[in-house]
Amino acid sequence: MTMQTRPRPPRAAQSAPTPGRAAWPLWGMEASIVVADPGLLAEAEGIVRTVTSSVEDSCSRFRPDSELARLQPRLAAGVQVSPMLANLVGSALAAARWTDGDVDPTLGKDLEALGYDRDIRTIKVRTTGIAGPAARQDSGLDRNEPRPERRVPGWSRVSVVDGMLRVPDDVRLDLGATAKAVAADMAAASVHAVLGIGVLVSLGGDLSAAGPAPEGGWQVLVQDLPADPAQQVTLPAGCGMATSSTQKRRWHHAGTSVHHILDPRFGLPAEPVWRSVTVAASSCLEANAFSTAAVVRGFSAIDWFRSRGIAGRFVDDRGRTVTTGCWPTDRAAAEGGRHE
């Protein structure tokens, strides 16, 4: 079967139509798309829904009928997996390499031990954010307690070669972070490939743009919680953006509030030095990998980003922002347009 880009009927010269937007709940968050041609909005939504459904069928940690869950007993010996699952695992391992293991897809058991063993919607969630000195203990990592032993990075023991996936028996994959980003990239690329239009896909705030952008580029409001500092930026065609937050996807465990971004060294929530980190890159996967890793690295992420020219925006626990790489400063944003 071959599907090719659908030819578009010629259109008389006219002003660009107002982009169309659709949104729906997905994985305990909101999925949305914006398309340059509103007449193709429903078709674009159908494509995005199909891609996200395929990703969920492939790697959900919470569904016993997902491919990953079904194959779990055989992974230690190695098993042939679908191209979709192989791609998702390969992308997760790539993210681990890029970040020197700060983004590790083998933290499934650690998340389960912290109580994140089912859909986040069914866990007692706390999203009021963090602030001030209480943040450290609030993270679930009490700095007064001796740290546990550092561990061998789990991701380095996983392989997928020619579709043959091998995962040690003591390791449980959790592809959640990177799979969402890959899904956004896949969905955007699929809409553009099938319908031949520009599209901006958002899966819980992880963005991927494919095809031509509207005149002036995609306008994105970067803001985590409503009280956080906001900034309007332009995301060019074909790029991605992701925000990692220590204020979202939180739940109570053992009498304390924990968040979902774990430090792979200890298998515990990373110290919440940053309320949020946003990265722009050439794909949503890249952006997600580096924004997540920045939360794990804490203060040292600033120098790391600057040395590599990564475009990032950090918001600390007092609401102050730091930018790196080519990320526009607040002043540049104000000069370029309205600053939220």
Partner: protein
């Protein structure tokens, strides 16, 4: 055929491409799905443990021996160095980037 029906039909096509496992050779599968991952990312990736990886405070060296021939690609670098973000132009907001 109305828009929703056409959307469903196209979406079914995507599903078929994905489920057939022919992503590398058929139109939408190859063009859309794999193009969606960073340049050089393929399904074939090998990681091997390297000496001393366990005591490097989690900053693993990776030990990548990928058989996908992507050395030097963005897959290895992880950041293309492009200038992907610019100041906003004050126009209507299309979407929002926030944590989830």
């Amino acid at each position: 055929m109305d828009i929703r029906s056409r959307g469903k039909r196209l979406a079914t096509g995507v599903t078929a491409a994905v489920s057939l496992g022919s992503l590398a050779v058929v139109g939408i599968g190859s063009a859309a799905v794999y193009a969606a991952t960073p340049h050089g990312t393929t399904t074939d990736t090998t990681n091997s443990v390297t000496s001393g990886q366990g005591d490097n405070q989690g900053q693993g060296t990776g030990g990548t021996t990928g058989d996908n021939g992507d050395n030097g690609s963005s897959l290895d670098n992880g950041y293309s160095g492009v200038s992907p973000v610019q100041p906003g132009n004050g126009g209507s907001i299309h979407s929002r980037s926030s944590g989830s």
